[in-house]
């Protein structure tokens, strides 16, 4: 038997990546986690392999074939290249609730009667049988096929409006008077345009004043003819990448806006909120705090004092700190950092995400009676909601989970309050757009459906058109 060789994998970027290696000999298969650009080593016997690299920050996956040759015992370094965070497949497409598939059957019959072999123009029964067969298996796959067929084979375009380029805009606003309704005004922000792939637009957004963290800013995206959607804009100290890509939506060309912290360690934390497996979280926290594997206890389960000290030092980036607190909550370890989580929420009261983590910390190791702890937990969630929707999808999910549990409390007051609060939290949840670490939600009704944003409320930073393959945009850059 040939001795295995150490193969060192250099990750494609500084994010967190799950690397799975598969070979013809299944006993050689292996998985490893690379965080923050740290190379990982696997011992592999000579042979042909494929490495699959999954990003923990996005749904992207890249694959690379490589060969381990017999011979020298030197380790083999293999750069995996092709960051899956940047792969086309990593686009976080939003799903619109109204996207019911439809097909014009009359057009379809006409087209099929001319083009499909074996079905003549005078054989409607055969077409009907075929339609029925497809509908019995999967109606929507049939509809998808039929629409594709129609678009490429007809003399009359069955859905011409779907192909037409659409106007879109992106605008920023901030709440200048949080206590009064209608306090949203145009928000200033530093916008830099960076080089991007063809058909894409890549911007770096930064706070104009790093000390002014608490002013709540939000990003609104409008595409003509579609529901506008909105997301909170976290002001990470190093900024936020905003990448715009074209996609094909149910109502025509659509814009996908991918957000990613510029700081890679923060990006790892934020990305891990939704996609990391619990057994990966400790390692990710160790790497994201900068202490690496040294920050993890020897049993591999908990962060040690060094890592906790690094977490305490995250006050200059409250969003990253909140993401760390939420990760601990996610894996049932908020008990390990109760004081820190409470302090974070108290110091950054305006950050709803920190309050959600604190709501879990309040009950993790309750001080006083359980009913008192539950009342404090509920209060944290009420405070959080008062500041508006959280920035992270995970916060929304954890808040709803805690409220569901509080609604079964032994205390009638907590029970009643939790049920009412649950209803208020779900208002945004009902319109939430799926996918991505950042919470986003559609606006109801006909608000802002013309692809433009009013000046009184929005600082429009991007205007343009989106067609099926590309985004064409003018960017209002501002350096500060």
């Amino acid at each position: 038997m040939t001795a295995p060789r150490d193969v060192q994998f250099i990750a494609p970027g500084n994010g967190a990546y799950r690397i799975t290696v598969r070979g013809a000999d299944p006993t050689s298969n292996a998985t490893a986690l690379s965080v923050a650009g740290e190379p990982v080593s696997l011992a592999l016997t000579p042979g042909l392999y494929v490495a699959f690299v999954e990003s923990l920050s996005s749904p992207g996956v890249t694959e690379r074939e490589f060969r381990v040759d017999p011979g020298s015992q030197q380790s083999l370094e293999l750069s995996l290249g092709g960051d899956p965070d940047q792969a086309t497949g990593s686009n976080i497409a939003r799903t619109r609730a109204s996207a019911a598939p439809q097909v014009n059957l009359k057009d379809l019959r006409e087209v099929l009667s001319h083009n499909l072999p074996g079905i003549g123009q005078n054989d409607p029964a055969a077409i009907t049988r075929m339609l029925a067969k497809r509908a019995d298996g999967s109606l929507a796959s049939f509809v998808e096929a039929a629409n594709s067929y129609l678009q490429s084979h007809t003399r009359t375009d069955p859905k011409p409006q779907a192909m037409k380029a659409r106007a879109f805009s992106l605008g920023l606003s901030m709440n200048v008077s949080p206590d009064v309704r209608g306090g949203w005004r145009p928000a200033e922000i530093a916008v830099e345009q960076h080089e991007a792939a063809e058909g894409e637009v890549r911007l770096k957004l930064r706070s104009p004043n790093p000390r002014e963290l608490s002013a709540r800013r939000r990003l609104t995206v409008v595409v003509a003819g579609d529901l506008a959607w909105r997301t909170g804009l976290p002001l990470f100290p190093d900024g936020l990448w905003l990448t715009l890509r074209a996609t094909s939506g149910p109502n025509g060309p659509d814009v996908v806006a991918t957000r990613r912290p510029v700081n890679e360690r923060t990006a790892v934390l934020v990305g891990a909120l939704g996609r990391a497996l619990p057994n990966e979280v400790t390692g990710i926290l160790g790497a994201a705090t900068g202490v690496g594997v040294d920050g993890i206890d020897s049993d591999g389960r908990n962060l040690n004092s060094k890592a906790m000290a690094a977490l305490y030092d995250k006050g200059n980036d409250p969003w990253a700190a909140a993401a760390a607190a939420l990760l601990l909550t996610r894996i049932g370890k908020s008990r390990n950092a109760i004081d820190w989580t409470m302090n974070l929420a108290n110091r950054f009261e305006w950050l709803a995400d920190a309050s959600v983590a604190a709501a879990w910390a309040e009950v993790a190791d309750p001080v006083g009676s359980p009913a008192e702890a539950e009342a404090r937990s509920l209060k944290r969630l009420q405070t959080a909601r008062g500041w508006g929707p959280p920035y992270f999808s995970a916060s929304n999910a954890l808040a709803l989970q805690m409220l569901t549990s509080l609604a079964l409390s032994a205390s009638p007051e907590v029970r009643r309050g939790a049920k009412a609060e649950h209803g208020l939290w779900t208002r945004h949840g009902l319109r939430a757009i799926r996918g991505g670490a950042f919470l986003a939600w559609e606006l109801p009704g006909n608000t802002l459906r013309k692809g433009k944003l009013p000046r009184a409320t929005y600082n429009t930073i991007v205007v343009g058109e989106v067609c099926n393959a590309a985004v064409h945009a003018q960017v209002k850059t501002t350096s500060m």
């Binding site: 694959e63 083009n115 499909l116 096929a145 497996l277 909550t329 049932g332 359980p370 209803g423």
Partner: protein, 384 residues
């Protein structure tokens, strides 16, 4: 009778010792208060298919099968006449094939029996196929046969599956599996009610228990919030259940001991792809019932097979596709005959590179496409 499989005696030690999987399976297709149009034979077929799978795999489950509690409401028979209908199998404690119906008292008693068997480290498996609703609290519930029977608590004959999914880990189970094949239709009457669903809750968990439990359920629904689930007319299981069972063979990871094993994370992220690659069910939309899951292992698979579907980029050209050949360079390759928009194959998860080549009845410039035989499914597109 609700207990249809029992490995260990109700009292006394387990032989051999070790964790067990305890299953609770419900299939409800008979709804007297909703009328004949609401009857669904497929839901009962789904439950039967799941039970058949569990019994067949009873020793391959990572925690061997310990018990199955089962309730069926079959629209093809009168109330009180429901049978399991799977033939004879060992460790069946019943004296005949009768099973109890999916009505509120039975769900409560069978649910309590199911939970009472859980010891620390066991696996808990829940499956329900029925009509379903959702409330404004984003909770999904499966309906029982006696839904609407209580005119003052119309929807109380239901099980809040989200709450079950969230709270089940406080049983100290090492793994919790919750599958719901039902719609999540929004009911206007419920949307205006802040207290939400008043259905059956099998497990209560205090916030403190919840904050400290380190296991999270793998919970998957065959529909999305506010949307419908789909099933064929007739005796076949609903589409999600079909895809779930197929995924139990292909959503695998390779374990260090040389075994292929189905894992929670593979299931969470890949059932839709498996449904498309195995059956062409591109419409299937799956949702997680629990935002965060611990990725446990469910079952070891001796011979996993990945579904592969090959399609032309322009689906209309499938009409001119005569055959597709896939080959890994060893042997003659595998030929497949296209159906309308799909050409299906199955390959072992060897990680090997395959090449798919199409033969057309007319001149097209489609190039061969490469893919890797990597879990959980492959959707291959031939491009010009």
């Amino acid at each position: 009778m609700t207990l249809v499989f029992q490995r260990d005696p109700l009292e006394g030690p387990r032989v051999p010792a070790g964790p067990r999987t305890h299953a609770f399976v419900l299939g409800c297709g008979r709804f007297p208060t909703l009328g004949a149009a609401a009857e669904r034979a497929s839901t009962v077929a789904g439950a039967r298919a799941i039970i058949r799978y569990l019994i067949e795999q009873r020793d391959s489950l990572v925690a061997p099968l310990g018990s199955i509690e089962c309730l069926l409401s079959d629209p093809s028979v009168a109330p009180g006449q429901d049978v399991l209908g799977l033939g004879a199998f060992d460790r069946d404690p019943r004296v005949n094939d009768h099973v109890a119906a999916v009505v509120t008292p039975n769900v409560q008693s069978a649910g309590e029996a199911w939970l009472s068997r859980c010891e620390a480290g066991d696996h808990m498996f829940f499956y329900m196929s029925s009509h379903g609703i959702a409330d404004q609290n984003v909770s999904a519930a499966g309906l029982f046969e006696d839904v609407l029977a209580n005119r003052y608590k119309k929807w109380s004959a239901s099980l809040n599956v989200n709450v079950l999914c969230t709270n089940l880990p406080v049983t100290q189970a090492a793994a919790c599996w919750v599958f719901l094949d039902a719609c999540q239709e929004l009911i206007p009457a419920l949307l205006g009610n802040n207290s939400g669903l008043a259905g059956v809750t099998l497990v209560d968990a205090s916030p403190t228990e919840l904050a400290n439990v380190q296991v999270r359920s793998v919970g998957i629904a065959g529909s999305r919030y506010g949307e419908k689930a789909w099933a064929p007319n007739g005796p076949n299981p609903p589409y999600f259940t079909q895809a779930l069972l197929r995924s139990f063979n292909s959503c695998v990871n390779f374990r260090a001991d040389g075994q292929w094993v189905v894992t929670g994370d593979r299931l969470l992220f890949n059932i839709e792809k498996v449904a498309d690659a195995a059956y062409g069910y591109a419409a299937l939309k799956v949702d997680s019932l629990s935002p965060f899951a611990t990725p446990p292992e469910l079952v070891t698979v001796q011979t996993p097979l990945l579904p592969v579907v090959v399609r032309t980029k322009d689906l209309a050209h499938m009409a001119f596709l005569q055959k597709v050949t896939i080959t890994n360079g060893q042997g003659p390759g595998i030929e497949g005959t296209p159906q309308l928009t799909d050409c299906f194959f199955e390959v072992p998860p060897s990680g090997q590179q395959y090449v798919a080549t199409g033969v057309f009845t007319q001149q097209f410039n489609y190039q061969p496409a490469q893919f890797y035989a990597a879990p959980c499914a492959q959707i291959v597109q031939l491009c010009p």
